[in-house]
Symmetry: C2
C-alpha cells in the first residue's frame, strides 16, 4: 500500500499534469520568468536554509568536494536564476510533429505531448531542484522532486520559492512538488507509483541509479554512469592524442563524461606512454596500469580489476596496453557503461570501425569525451545523459521529456 501522503502528492501531480499538458508556451515561459525573479528576491531565505545544510554536512565530516557542491552563494543563486531564463528561450517541443493522409482519407497527426508526471530522484547539488523543475515545466510535465537528505533545507527553500512563483503566475497547483520526508520507505514507494508517475529519472552515483533500476516498476531512464575509454591507435597524431587525453581526464574529473581508462596500441606504447605521463603529471593525475604499462612507466601503480570496472571520478587514470583495435574493442565491449568512447587515429577504416562497432550513446573520433553534454551538442539544456537504449540515449533535452500522441481526423471511416 502506498502511504496516504504520497497518494496525495501523486494525485496533485497528475491533476496538474492534466492541465499543464495543454498550457501554452507563453504561459509556461511567464512562469519560468516569475520563478527566475523569485529566486533573486528570496536569496536571503535560500542562503539561510543552505547554511543549515552546509553546517550539518561539516559537522558530519562530509568530504570537502561534496560540501562545495552543496554550498550556495549569492552568485550561485544568480546563476541558477539565469539558467531559468535560458530555458525560456528554448523551443517548446509540445505540439510539433508530422502529418500524413491514408488512402481512405484518414488524416493522421503524430504530435509531441508531455510525458505527464516526471519524478526526479537525485543527490547533493541543490541547483538540480530548479533545473529539473524548469525543464519539466517547459515541456508541460508536472514534477515530483526527491533530492538528497544533505540538501534538504536548501531544496525546501528553493522548491517553495519556485512552486509559489509558478502557481502565482497561473500554472496549476501541484506542478512542482518536493518530497520533504527523507525516510527511505517514501522513495521506495514513489518508485512503484505507476498509477501516478509516468517516468522516473535518477541522477547521481551508480549506487542510486542501480537501486532505482532494480526496485522501480515505473519506467526508468537510467542516467549518467560513465566508464569512458580513449583508445590511442598506432596511427594516432600525438598532437591530438595528448591534448584530448589531458582534457578528457582533467578538465572536470568528477563528471560522467570524464575519461577513466586509456587504452594504448602496443606498437606505440613505449613511445607514447612516457610522453602522455609527463603531461598528466603536470595535472597531478595518478596512473593505475596493466603489467605492460607498469613496465614502461615505473611510477604507475598496478591496476586491479575494479580499476577497469568502476569510475574513478577523480584525478586517477587506468592505463592498458592492447595489441590492436580488436583488443581495444573487446576491452570496451566488456567494461563500457555505453556512455562515451573515443578513438584517436588518422586511419580512416579504423575510425569508421570504432564509430560503428562500439555500442555506446556517443562514439568519437579525435575528440574529447567531455563533449557529451546537452549544451555542447546544441540542445540548449539537459535533464541528464541517458545510458540506456529505450526512449532516449545520450544527452536528453526537452524533446526527451515528451512522448508522442496520434490525433486522427476522420469523416466516418470504418475498417473493412
Amino acid at each position: 500500500m502506498i502511504r496516504r501522503e504520497l497518494v496525495e502528492i501523486g494525485q496533485r501531480a497528475k491533476q496538474a499534469a492534466r492541465q499543464l499538458a495543454y498550457a501554452s508556451t507563453e504561459s509556461k515561459n511567464k512562469a519560468l520568468l516569475a520563478m527566475a525573479e523569485a529566486l533573486l528576491e528570496n536569496e536571503q531565505e535560500i542562503l539561510r536554509a543552505n547554511t543549515i545544510d552546509v553546517q550539518a554536512a561539516e559537522d558530519k565530516g562530509i568530504k570537502k568536494s561534496l560540501i562545495n557542491r552543496l554550498r550556495l552563494t549569492s552568485q550561485g543563486i544568480s546563476n541558477i536564476s539565469s539558467a531559468l531564463r535560458e530555458v525560456v528561450n528554448l523551443k517548446d517541443p509540445v505540439g510539433e510533429g508530422e502529418v500524413w493522409t491514408r488512402p481512405n482519407g484518414l488524416r493522421i497527426l503524430q504530435t509531441r505531448v508531455p510525458l505527464g508526471v516526471v519524478a526526479m530522484i537525485y543527490e547533493a547539488r541543490p541547483n538540480v531542484t530548479v533545473d529539473a523543475a524548469a525543464l519539466c515545466l517547459k515541456s508541460g510535465n508536472s514534477v515530483i522532486l526527491r533530492g538528497g537528505s544533505e540538501a534538504l533545507e536548501s531544496n525546501k527553500a528553493l522548491a517553495k520559492v519556485i512552486a509559489k512563483a509558478a502557481e502565482d503566475s497561473g500554472l496549476p497547483a501541484g506542478c512542482i512538488q518536493l518530497i520533504t520526508e527523507t525516510d527511505r520507505e517514501w522513495v521506495q514507494q514513489l518508485m512503484r507509483m505507476n498509477e501516478f508517475v509516468d517516468v522516473i529519472i535518477p541522477r547521481g552515483g551508480a549506487g542510486l541509479i542501480q537501486t532505482v533500476v532494480q526496485y522501480a516498476t515505473v519506467p526508468v531512464i537510467e542516467t549518467g554512469t560513465g566508464m569512458c575509454h580513449a583508445f590511442v591507435d598506432r596511427d594516432a597524431d600525438y598532437e591530438k592524442a595528448i591534448p584530448i587525453v589531458i582534457n578528457a581526464k582533467t578538465q572536470n574529473p568528477g563528471v560522467c563524461n570524464a575519461l577513466e581508462t586509456l587504452l594504448v596500441d602496443e606498437t606505440i606504447a613505449e613511445d607514447f606512454l612516457p610522453k602522455v605521463e609527463e603531461e598528466l603529471k603536470k595535472h597531478h593525475v595518478a596512473l593505475k596500469g596493466c603489467p605492460r604499462t607498469c613496465a614502461i612507466l615505473p611510477n604507475a601503480l598496478p591496476a586491479e580489476e575494479d580499476d577497469w570496472v568502476l569510475e574513478h571520478l577523480d584525478l586517477v587514470l587506468s592505463v592498458k596496453v592492447v595489441s590492436d583495435l580488436d583488443a581495444a574493442l573487446d576491452h570496451i565491449y566488456r567494461y563500457s557503461t555505453k556512455h562515451s568512447e573515443t578513438i584517436i587515429t588518422e586511419n580512416y577504416s579504423k575510425a569508421q570501425r570504432f564509430l560503428k562497432e562500439v555500442d555506446a550513446a556517443v562514439t568519437y573520433v579525435n575528440a574529447s569525451t567531455r563533449f557529451t553534454d546537452g549544451g555542447r551538442f546544441g540542445f540548449g539544456a539537459e535533464i541528464g545523459i541517458s545510458t540506456q537504449k529505450l526512449h532516449a540515449r545520450g544527452p536528453m533535452g526537452l524533446k526527451e521529456l515528451t512522448t508522442i500522441k496520434y490525433m486522427v481526423y476522420g469523416d466516418g471511416q470504418i475498417v473493412t
Copy 2:
C-alpha cells in the same frame, strides 16, 4: 542467480546482436527470404507439431476460440511465409538519421541503431513466433522468444525452421532463440537479465502484461490492453455514429482496439440508444448499461463497476449516458487504458477538445478505434501497440525496435 542455461541463451543472443548490429540490409533480407522458403518446405513437420498442441488443448477442454487461434493450416503457414516476404519490402531504419555541425567543427551524426537483444513474451498464437523474429532481425536485433505453453510444440517447430534458415543464410548463430522450458521460474529470470536483454515486449492479456511490468528489471514496452471508448456527442451525425460503433465493437471483438464502452450525451440518449441497439442486436451484441441506459433500453443488463474497468473482448458493450463532453472526458480519464478513444461529433470545438484533452496513444474524431494498427497507419507491420509513454506509443513498427547512437567526427577538439 540466473540459471546457467539462461545465461548461455543470453550470451549467445548478445554475441549475435553484436554482429547483427552492422549486418547489411541485403544480408538481412536474404535471411528473411530463406526463412519464408523454409517454412513452406517444412510445412509437414510444422503441421505435425501443431497437431500435438491442438490435441492437448482439446483434451484439456480449452475454449474453442483459443483453439482456433492455436491451429495452423497449410494456408496459415503460407500466410506466415508471405508475411515474411512483406518484411523484406519494409525500409530498414538502421543507419538513418540526421547530422549537424557545431561551431567548433565537430560533426555530430545521430543515427538509428538496433536495440540489441529483444525478448518477446507472448501467449497462444504461434504466428507471433515468426512475425516477431522477422521484425527483430530486419531491425538488426537478436531475439529471445518465450511463447505460451499451449503452443510449445508449434513454436519449437517454427523457431527451429526459421533459426536454421537464418543461420544457413549467413546471420550469426543465436540470432533467433526460443525458450522451450515452460517452468515459470525461467521467464521470471528472463525478466531480470539486464546484462543480456535490452528490452522486453510482452504481448497478450492484461494479466501477462501486468506481471511483466511488476516483475521485470529489464526495460519493458507495455502493449495492448485497450479499454477503448466512443463518445457520441449531441452534435453527432448518426450516419457516422452508428456504423462506427458497430464497426469498432463487432468487426473483431477480441482485439485490443475494439470498442468496450459507449458514452452517449444525455441530450440524444433517448433518441440514439434505441437506434444503435437495433443495429447492435443484428450483430448479437449484449449490452451492460448504467441506470439511465437501462431505463431507456429495457433489454440492457445493469453494468457493474468491472464493466467500466475491464475489456469484454467479446460481443458485449458497456453503455453509459453522460451529461456532456466534460462528463465523457472525466469518465475516459478515469477508466481509459490510454489506447484508443473516439468522439463522434460535427462540432468543431468539441472535436478539438477531445483530441487534445484525452490522454491516449490514439485519439479519433469520427472514425473507428479499429484503425489503431501498424498496417492501417501505413507502417507496414507492427510488433505490438504500446500503451506506455516511454520510447514508443501506439502502433510500433521497425523504427520502434531501434534506438539512436551519436557518432562524432572530430579533428582534435577539446572542451574549454
